[in-house]
Symmetry: C2
Subunit: 130 residues, 2 copies
DNA sequence: TAACAAACGTTATATTATAACAATGATAAA
DNA sequence: TTTATCATTGTTATAATATAACGTTTGTTA
């Protein structure tokens, strides 16, 4: 379990926006949303995003270059992440399924590689869109 | 099983480069490599890449924005892809494991989403790097 | 208080990807 | 063969995503 971490000003601002959002946010869309708070440069966003990812507060959806808040709390600082992504409405939902996660984590690659982390992205149509 | 498809000139050029490569290639690195063949613009690369992905000839490694040739032939036109990625040397290896693939494909999301496709990326250290 | 690390602000630039439009080539029906 | 249709190409321009580099400020600890 990760210990509680205090967030810096910029980290908190960025996290707040991501947590309030209904879906994944892109870095530059976050930037436009925080300009009134005195954040003006991409670097400031990307630095906060990097730290928030390290802390496990958010995840990057690699296939969309977008960021979501972690809603799962048992994804062990992003060591085992899984998402379901609607190809129509772009909704992203974090999958928190112990059995699935355990199964994948225990997968052993024949070629002698030792895994530290995985990321799984499912694509399809959500309830509303199908 | 996908039927044999004939590739256009640019598609063949791009595929050749990706198949010869030892590791994942980035779009602009492909571009620099084919300028002697008369391909000069990113669009030409990205268009070929798109088609090759559709055909299942190559895959995009989302976490690296890079492309690898499909070595598996049973990934059913990219409906079920899995890769092992070394965080040190950037080696990428396509995982072709029927059991793993079946298990993940049969996963049913509680929230009623019907999955059409998944992509799984493992990260760690390869044999050489650990 | 000195030393160190983390976070910040800023400017510039690198990297990845798409828009838009005209021209060409291949396929197949009429 | 002509005409229609569709995929592919070439080209210019621009959008979107991300990092480098530098100096300053702030917070923590010795
Ligand atoms: Zn999570
Ligand atoms: Zn949807
Ligand atoms: Zn494959
Ligand atoms: Zn390695």
């Amino acid at each position: 379990m990760a210990q509680a971490q205090t967030l810096s000003r910029n980290q908190q601002i960025v996290l707040d926006i991501i947590e309030k959002a209904k879906g994944p946010l892109k870095a530059y869309s976050i930037l436009f949303n925080v300009q009134k708070k005195g954040i003006n440069a991409p670097q400031q966003i990307y630095r906060a995003l990097d730290k928030l990812i390290e802390m496990g507060k958010i995840h990057k959806i690699e296939s969309k270059n977008a960021f979501v808040a972690c809603r799962s709390s048992d994804c062990e600082i992003s060591k085992a992440t899984a998402f379901s992504i609607c190809e129509s409405c772009e909704m992203v939902d974090e999958i928190s399924d112990t059995k699935l996660s355990k199964y994948i984590s225990s997968f052993n690659h024949k070629k002698g590689m030792k895994f530290k982390r995985f990321n799984l992205e499912f694509f399809g149509l959500c309830k509303k869109c199908k």
